[in-house]
């Protein structure tokens, strides 16, 4: 336990440090963008959150397949951790996006493709955790979590293209033609910072899950769901 404690705490602290450095550069060193002005600085946390949320969902999808394949508790724990941390980053993404929309378009919400897709993604993956919380049998909970994660993930590209079609006319992307190097640097630093923090969070979440599971096995061996019939699984 102590050996494990070291690597993720180290990574978490490194992430925290990088987040401070990256945000400092983003807030005070990087130049203001030509059109967006100072509000463009929201990007330095917004984009890293978006990248990492997508990364975590993709990882969750892969872990879910492995979990379904192997039926090992640790893969279930990792899948759940990836989904949960993904939801946290996704929720932050939504709030930042909303503030961004208010600053640039003057409204708190815009049916922009990415903003809408990220709202639907939060709901999709929150459903996975909701389903999970209602299943008491550990084996079934693992299988169903994996299934729901796979089903939800496959929906993401469909939703994205659908929203794009649905909107038919969409914003011209506000990518500056010349990106100052001082804009790229904080973006990269923060991307790694959030990644390291996310790994730390996942590690903690995995511990919680494994500890709970160990407890369940010790405390309630008799809580094996009756086969079929009963409506209270």
């Amino acid at each position: 336990m102590t050996r494990q404690f070291k690597w993720d705490s180290g990574l978490g602290l490194l992430g925290l440090l990088l987040l401070f450095v990256g945000s400092y550069i983003g807030l005070f060193v990087a130049p203001a963008e030509r059109y967006m002005g100072e509000t463009q600085r929201i990007m330095y946390v917004h984009v890293p959150c978006a990248w990492n949320a997508m990364l975590l969902y993709t990882l969750a999808f892969i872990f879910a397949i492995v979990s379904l394949w192997t039926h090992r508790p640790k893969w279930d724990a990792v899948t759940t951790a990836a989904v949960e941390v993904g939801i946290v980053l996704n929720a932050l993404l939504l709030v930042q996006g909303s503030i961004w929309a208010r600053a640039t378009w003057g409204v708190w919400w815009d049916w922009d493709v990415r903003l809408t897709t990220s709202l639907i993604m939060v709901l999709l993956f929150a459903g996975v955790l909701a389903l999970r919380s209602f299943v008491h049998d550990a084996g079934r909970r693992a299988t169903w979590t994996a299934i729901a994660t796979i089903v939800a993930f496959v929906d993401v590209p469909l939703v994205y293209f659908c929203v794009r079609w649905w909107r038919s006319l969409h914003q011209v992307q506000s990518t500056p033609d010349t990106v100052a190097p001082m804009m790229v640097v904080p973006l990269r630093i923060n991307a790694f910072a959030i990644l390291f923090l996310a790994i730390w969070m996942m590690a903690q979440r995995v511990r919680v899950e494994l500890a709970r599971r160990a407890q369940d096995q010790v405390a309630e061996p008799e809580r094996i769901a009756p086969i079929g019939g009963s409506t209270n699984a």
């Binding site: 796979i150 089903v151 496959v154 929906d155 469909l158 079929g228």
Partner: protein, 228 residues
Amino acid sequence: MSLFRQALTVVRKDLLLEWRGKGRLISVLLFGVVTLLLFSFAVGPDSTLMRAAAGGFLVLALLLSSTLGLSESFRVEQEQRAIEGLLLLPVDPIALYYGKTLSNTLFLMLLAPVLTPVALILYSVQLDLQGLAVLLGLWTLAAAGLSAPGTLYAAMTSRLQSQDVLLPLLLFPLVIPVLMGAVKSITLILTGDPMSQVSAWATLLASFAIIYSSLCGLLFPHAIEEGI
């Protein structure tokens, strides 16, 4: 027995059950009609507004009714542990899934002949025969798209106490592409389709149904391996 024959047997069994106890179909139909009625109060007596939103309301009525129908389809199996018997029979779980999905699709298709005229009358929309045929086609694709993931999730949640909350919670965000596709295309049919975009949306609906019926067919045996 081949997989296909097994699936058909499941469909026949479901349809027979449906025919014997028509309660489920009638209550879901009534529910759909009630929602259509309620939607018209949401936009007030303004007939232009209602006509513009008619397609959306019709699809929402289908969506809301579908969760009732889907959850009922497995609740029937839970009663008297019928599902256990079904799983003990030499029926492949994959055949069970496709049989159930097909019978759920048929069930949702049966809503169209009642809900469509009611919507046309309530929202005072005109539709010629050709439009009606296209609408039925789109309805079928939407029904298949709703049933494909819906059958899997209904099977999973049917044992849980909070099924009534959980099934819509899982299904609604998932079927947003179906909702968007069906609303857009049906609205185009009701209000005119100058750019002929209906076929694009129909393709989307068909792809959703195909993708999810293949994926959920693969996952269904896992979902029920530890008993439903």
